[in-house]
Amino acid sequence: MKKYNLIYLLTTLVVLGCSPDTDYESLNKDPNNPADVSAESLFTSSLKNLMDEVNDIDYRDAPFMLLAQYAQQTTYTDESQYDIVNRGISSAIFSTIYMNVLYDLADAKSKVIGDPFKAAQAEVLSIYAWQYLVDNFGDIPYSEALNIVGENQSIAPKYDDAATIYDDLVKRAVSASAALAGSDGFGFIGADLIGNGNRASWSKFANSLIVKLGVRVPGDKYKSEVEAAFSKSLSSVADNITMAYQGSKPNTHPSWPELVESGRNDYVVGKTIVDLLTSTDHEDPRQDVFFDPKSKMNNKYVGGVIGQKSGWSTHSKLGTIYFDPTFRGVLIDYTEICFYLADAAARGWNVGGTAATHYSNGIKASFEDMGLAATQANTYIAKPKVAYTTATGSDDEKIGRQLWISMFNRGFEGWTAFRRYGGAPLVPSKLGEGDFKQVPRRLTYPVSEATQNSKNYSSASSAIGGDLQKTKVFWDK
């Protein structure tokens, strides 16, 4: 009897302990998360993340409203003073685009073999995202990027020259445009939140990217590509590449959690834009859309002094359309295309019109987009300080100023318009010293790159002339 007890114990233990290795392995596979997913779900997720990124106004993730001086912070003024480093914003942008947009798009592409339409859709979004990164940082990891696992694994990818990346992006946009001109493949339909699988719409998007990339670089480098593409690009406000957000989190417009749900009051409108739009020689009707008429002080809009604490109760607020959770997100719109074409025409490129025509079209498109009447636009365009022929400054400055006004709330494009063209009356920071004094010309690389990709980070920093906010991206004047 006693012996049996012992044997029983031993047997129990041996049996329990000796599951085969394969059983052990199966315990190590997560039952709650899939080992594989559809290309559709990756595509939709990338698209939404890209849309959120470029439409976000949260100063912790996307401080561009502040850099473009459309808005001013009320109490915590770091970003308004051009301290973009303190809150690690570069890192948020860098990681969102690489990890949550580009990597997932590349993965989606690898799963759509045999459907060139789908591949082209993913490609167009990728090109958009790459340009966004280059325009933010300058040189970035490109040719060796997105290889955390696999045959070409690289956990410390080298940085590529920004101008060279542009060459490749233009090439890629041209071939995506060609693929979309064909008829092969079914495309993402339901998963396509911006075009519902409309091939024509994607084709316009691809050609608009050629215009946007090609015109951004000064000189005539991409003249032929732009001349070939412009007529196939967005041609009306109705063509705008937008996405309708939804009424509840997490699918609201990204500004809603910051402006409404949080109950916080972090922004008032910036003095720079308020003063220009309300000046007697502009009296821009868009002021009553961009700003909240109820927040006038003594019948005047009051903007916060850039870089200075600006009390919520003593300054004017953003227009009410920006507080709507279902406000549309925009990737690219007809308004900006018009201004790019104005620039192209001013350079003597053959883009179907004069600089002045495209310039006026851009202003009209902006008015239309803001729900204002064409007559209001015409009156505005007729003002001597607005009309292309009589407005002050160089071609670049005229285009830059109006592009900057039209890009209100699209902070990144507004800031980029200032960097590319000048013209907008942006001011240095009131308090910043050193690299934080002038309006940044780029974002500095994430601090993590200096530690996790140190060798490549160092070479890239010296290649661009120092990892500073004042260093200019290659297309910057």
Binding site: D30, N49, T75, S95, K249, N453
Partner: protein, 1078 residues
């Protein structure tokens, strides 16, 4: 009836005989060297009378022939003699210290301490029971060399338990807790955001479910050799707890313990405010009367919208305060109130209540030759310092054993605890932490008594921080800007949690013969934990209800065969072989509402304003199995030389199939040199040395990658790649440790010393290596990284004085270590990775590991120093600071830690106190960083060296002249402005280095004054024994360098330390403890 009478008569006769033979017996008690032992206890077991020996070891006691007396003395084996005809006895007591001391080691195996080749330090259960801390683990603080305990002053919050330093980069560094051979979970359910100071609650660490009343003894196994048989997870040290078992009792065997402790805030750990200036950020006075800019009906209104105290200088003017702008408060609405300088009746400290901890327990125990049992019930009730905060904990423990036959014994220990908490304290930078306001963003002239009144009158969330008046001249806006009414918040938004837990073991012992035994044991530990967090409608933050359920369990099946044999007179063998199967399971489910709540005060998922999506829920299910076989052989020669070796082979389901087995072994030896030398000053001496290797696995799901599903959009599914990529080529981690030690007892046991030196290297750490985000991921699991820990530990026991009535003992613990990061892996170019982030704090400070430096460095912006050592100033009188935020500003690792415990015994009275010391280590204070800008602190309204208020403009003789130099090294005497949030002393200009402080401290950790009723008195009571004591904890911070805060304050247990954000003050506790046995 007749029989009883007869018995009585017989008894009377018998007692007559006994009384007749009563006499006084005398004697002298000496130790082996012939030295007298003063203060030894002599008890007549028949009468229960007892006496103590005098200074020369003499005693005298009443007794009769045939009675039994026992002589006992701490550290010596008891001796029992039967009284014969003689009236005088010479008693020789043999020291049991070291020579026969038995300690519990790995797997619950008991060993002679003298034979061990590694360090083990023991504590009695009393150290756990003397002062019942909020978290019983805290009781170990300062008691053990090499054991570092930190807790964070929150009710029922976690304790960080680190043995011999941090040796894992990203994995857990917490010691393993083992109760009666069964490991129990010590996980902390706090979120990552909470641990890095971004808000949340401290739900404690699971080991706090140990009921202090059940603890008989604690031994701490520090090194790898001591813990090798537990495998990897014991690499961080093991705290072995042996619970009380039933013992034979003369009375009913009932013990009652009661303790009540009252706690109050230690004011030295809370800010001192200025009360001269009102709310505002500065620069907002209107210039007319130098007063408020905001006007209502022509009169000034307090600038309630600003959560700072750089407002106007107060002068008693009549103004509108927040409570004058609340329409429902008709008695005060629209009336003016005087704005007087001076401390308001309701200053922040008035918000805190007296903390009360009441602990009551009752136990029943008994034993006979066939078995024993013990049953304990304990209740602990805590009411915290914040309104509406309490914890109630009930614990029931049963332990029993029964001899089934001559060689078959069965036993079981089972503990059930239920802990219910309401209103745990909010932590970190979060509106639910009142200290975010009181320490950082606040109007110091706010009267909290009025806040309370406003809440009581209206039931609504009107606060001192309402938007109030703007310049439009319309009626004030009563919506709150950043802060809720603290009384409303504590009342309406209390979180709650419940933990049901069962742990214990069932054991069968089978004795095959005198040499060979088999033990089979099932150990189990399971808890179900539910936490609920709430933000009500009307709060500044969006309303939310959050609910999380976790079930965590571990089962261990052990089979251990033991063999002991004396091969010859001189050679002893002691060996085990065994097997273990461990099964861990985790099952978590979390859900929260989306976009607010529809009905105020209804905290339920179905009250969600928006639809609950996959972004609002999560679940995690995992099982891990580890099976292992092990062997241990120990041989002793002549009771002088000992050698031991262990081997273990483990297979873990968390590792890849082709690398899932890992083997490791240890060897240790010791020599009792006091047996070899003849010196009467040396009572005992032993040298020991060991070398051990230990392997370690990892958590589940680090091998195969999977996708994340996120909330759908308009019916479309969304999925993303993970941010951390897994690795199918992982292998086990490895720890190698060498340790040497010396144990000494000198001068007739007046001096005892235990000294250890160790050198531990942990390598191939399974680390989520942070990679360039341009790879498409943020981290990749790899075997990378190595840490080298070296340190010394010393325990010194002194007995400066002993006599019949008085004894004085001193125990000193001291330890020091360095944790050097020697490798962090390489990137794909073969470049060494230099830095690994461990945590990033709000305020621009990060915690990390840097290759070649100590683990746990704090980084941020520093001052810029001239080569003459002075700080460089700017032209506006502020300091210059580095652009780079990666300057090393300090380290969380202390230079050394120590404890000194003094115990005095005078007859029936004992007094002991413990001083706990930390030297070095740094902490970043977000509290000070923000307070530097909001003008709340006393020093922001001080006089400058010209005798003027620094808040006057520099042009008017105000401002501050901070010591510093110009670029050329010449002295810079520029005064900087200090009259608004742009003060040169504020963080707008100051680098983070200005807010990193030396965390050294000296604390009076514990004090106890006890009185035990002596045997003469106890005989007149119904009790077997009774004692009463006055106890105190954290009564005095003797030395500290962190302004307005407890240097130990922080956020939560875990690897992220060195961060004070909304820190809670230290609590001074004092109370009474009662112990009765009958």
């Amino acid at each position: 009836m007749y029989k009883i009478k007869l018995l009585c008569v017989f008894g009377l006769l018998f007692s007559q005989v006994m009384i007749a033979q009563l006499k006084t017996v005398t004697g002298v008690i000496t130790d082996e060297s012939g030295a007298p032992l003063p203060g030894a206890t002599v008890v007549n077991l028949n009468t229960s009378n007892g006496v103590s020996s005098d200074f020369d070891g003499n005693f005298s006691i009443e007794s009769s022939v045939g009675e039994t007396i026992t002589i006992s003395y701490v550290g010596y084996t008891d001796q029992t003699i039967q009284i014969g005809e003689e009236n005088s006895y010479n008693i020789l007591l043999v020291s049991n210290n070291k020579l026969d001391e038995v300690v519990v080691t790995s797997l619950g195996i008991t060993r002679d301490k003298k034979s061990l080749g590694y360090a083990v330090q023991e504590l009695s259960g009393e150290d756990f029971q003397d002062v019942k801390a909020l978290n019983p683990i805290e009781s170990l603080s300062g008691e053990i060399a090499g054991l570092d305990i930190q807790s964070y002053n929150t009710m029922g919050g976690s304790a960080n338990v680190i043995v011999r330093g941090y040796s894992s980069l990203t994995g857990s560094n917490q010691a393993l807790f083992v109760i009666d051979g069964t490991p129990i979970s010590n996980s902390t359910p706090n979120t990552g955001d909470m641990k890095s100071g971004r808000g949340g609650f401290d739900y404690g660490n699971a080991a706090m479910d140990i009921n202090p009343e059940d603890v008989a003894s604690v031994s701490v196994l520090k090194g790898a050799a001591a813990t090798a048989l537990y495998g990897s997870r014991a690499a961080n040290g093991v705290i072995l707890i042996t619970t009380k078992k039933g013992s034979k009792k003369s009375g009913l065997g009932v013990t009652i313990n009661s303790q009540i402790l009252f706690g109050s805030v230690d004011k030295s750990t809370y800010p001192e405010y200025q009360y001269e200036y009102g709310q505002g950020y500065g620069g907002q006075t209107d210039g007319g009367d130098g007063y408020w800019l905001s006007k209502w009906n022509g009169s000034s209104a307090v600038n309630t919208t600003d959560d700072a105290s750089f407002g106007p200088k107060l002068n008693g003017k009549m103004v509108y305060k927040s409570y004058n702008m609340i329409p429902e408060l008709t008695a005060l609405y629209g009336k003016l109130s005087p704005d007087n300088p001076g401390e308001p009746a309701g200053a922040p400290l008035s918000f805190f209540n007296t903390q009360v901890i009441a602990t009551n327990s009752v136990s029943i125990e008994n034993a006979d030759e066939n078995g024993s049992f013990r049953l304990n019930y304990s209740n602990t009730n805590i009411s915290g310092i914040l309104p509406n905060s309490s914890i109630d904990r009930n614990a029931i423990t049963f332990s029993g054993s029964r001899k089934l036959s001559d060689n078959f014994t069965t036993s079981a220990n089972i503990t059930y605890t239920k802990t219910d908490a309401v209103g745990r304290y909010g932590t970190g930078y979060d509106g639910r932490n009142v200290n975010q306001g009181f320490r950082q963003w606040y109007g110091t002239t706010v009267d909290l008594e009025m806040e309370k009144y406003v809440y009581e009158q209206t039931g609504k969330n009107y606060s001192w921080n309402m938007f109030g008046m703007d310049t439009s001249g319309t009626d004030p806006n009563t919506k709150n800007h950043y802060f809720n009414n603290p009384y409303w918040m504590r009342d309406k938004m209390a979180n709650s949690d419940t933990r049901n837990r069962y742990f214990g073991n069932v054991t069968l012992d089978y004795k095959i013969n005198d040499d060979l035994k088999v033990l089979g044991r099932l150990g189990f530990d399971q808890f179900d934990f539910t936490k609920e967090e709430r933000i009500d409608v009307g709060a500044v933050d969006p309303a939310e209800y959050y609910s999380s359920h976790r079930t965590v369990s571990e089962r261990n099946f052990d089979l251990i065969v033991s063999y002991t044999k004396s091969i010859t007179d001189k050679i002893n063998i002691d060996a085990n072989i065994g097997g273990n199967l461990r099964v861990n399971q985790w099952d978590y489910m979390t859900a929260q509402t989306n976009g607010g709540l529809n009905i105020p005060g209804l905290f339920a998922l179905n009250n969600s304003s928006g639809p609950i999506t996959s972004g609002d829920v999560s679940n995690y299910d995992a099982t891990k199995k580890v099976d292992g076989v092990f062997a241990r052989v120990s041989a002793g020669f002549d009771e002088t030389y000992y050698i031991e070796t262990t081997f273990r082979s483990d297979r873990s389901s968390s590792l890849p199939i082709n690398n899932n087995r890992f083997n490791y072994s240890s060897i240790s030896g010791s020599a009792i040199i006091s047996n070899l030398i003849d010196n009467s000053n040396i009572d005992f001496a032993k040298v020991r040395a060991n070398y051990a290797e230990v392997g370690a696995d990892t958590s589940p799901y680090n091998v195969f990658s999977s996708y994340n599903l996120v909330a759908g959009f308009g019916g479309q599914p969304l999925a993303t790649n993970p941010s951390t990529f897994n690795n199918p080529n992982l292998k086990a981690e490895s720890t190698k440790e060498t340790e040497i030690g010396l144990e000494l007892d000198l001068f007739n046991r007046r001096v005892g010393l235990d000294f250890s030196y160790y050198n531990r290297t942990t390598e191939d750490l399974i680390t989520p290596l942070e990679v360039s985000k341009a790879t498409g991921g943020s981290a990749l699991f790899v075997n990378a990284g190595a840490i080298e820990n070296k340190g010394f530990e010393m325990v010194l026991n002194l007995n400066p004085y002993r006599s019949a009535d008085f004894n004085w003992d001193i125990t000193v613990n001291w330890s020091t270590y360095t944790s050097k990061v020697t490798d962090l892996g390489q990137d794909s170019n073969g470049t060494d990775i230099e830095y690994l982030a461990l945590g990033s704090f709000q305020g621009g400070v990060s915690l990390g590991a840097k290759k070649g430096e100590e683990y746990g460095i704090l980084r941020g912006r520093n001052f810029i120093y001239h080569e003459n050592g002075q700080k460089l100033k700017r032209s506006n009188g502020a300091y210059q600071r580095t652009t780079s935020n990666t300057e090393v500003l300090g380290s969380i690792i202390p230079d050394w830690t120590g404890g000194v415990k003094n115990s005095f015994n005078y007859k029936d009275i004992n007094l002991s106190f413990l001083i706990d010391i930390q030297k070095g280590g740094d902490v970043f204070s977000l509290d000070q960083r923000y307070a530097s800008l909001t003008g709340i602190l006393k020093e922001s309204a001080r006089l400058n060296d010209k005798g003027n208020l620094i808040r006057e403009a520099v042009a008017d003789g105000g401002g501050v002249n901070m010591p510093g130099v110009n670029e050329d090294g010449s002295v810079n005497n520029v005064y900087g402005e200090a009259n608004s949030y742009l003060t040169v002393e504020g963080y707008v200009y100051m680098p983070e280095a200005a807010f990193v402080y030396d965390a050294s401290f000296v604390k009076l950790r514990e004090i106890k004054l006890g009185y035990k009723l002596n045997d003469n008195l106890i005989n007149s009571t119904p009790f077997e024994s009774a004692s009463i004591s006055i106890v105190g904890r954290n009564l005095w911070i003797i030395s500290s360098n962190v302004p307005y805060s407890d240097p130990e304050a922080g956020i939560s247990a875990g690897n992220v330390q060195g961060n004070q954000s909304g820190a809670y003050p230290s609590i001074k506790e004092i109370g009474v403890s009662l112990n009765l046995q009958f």
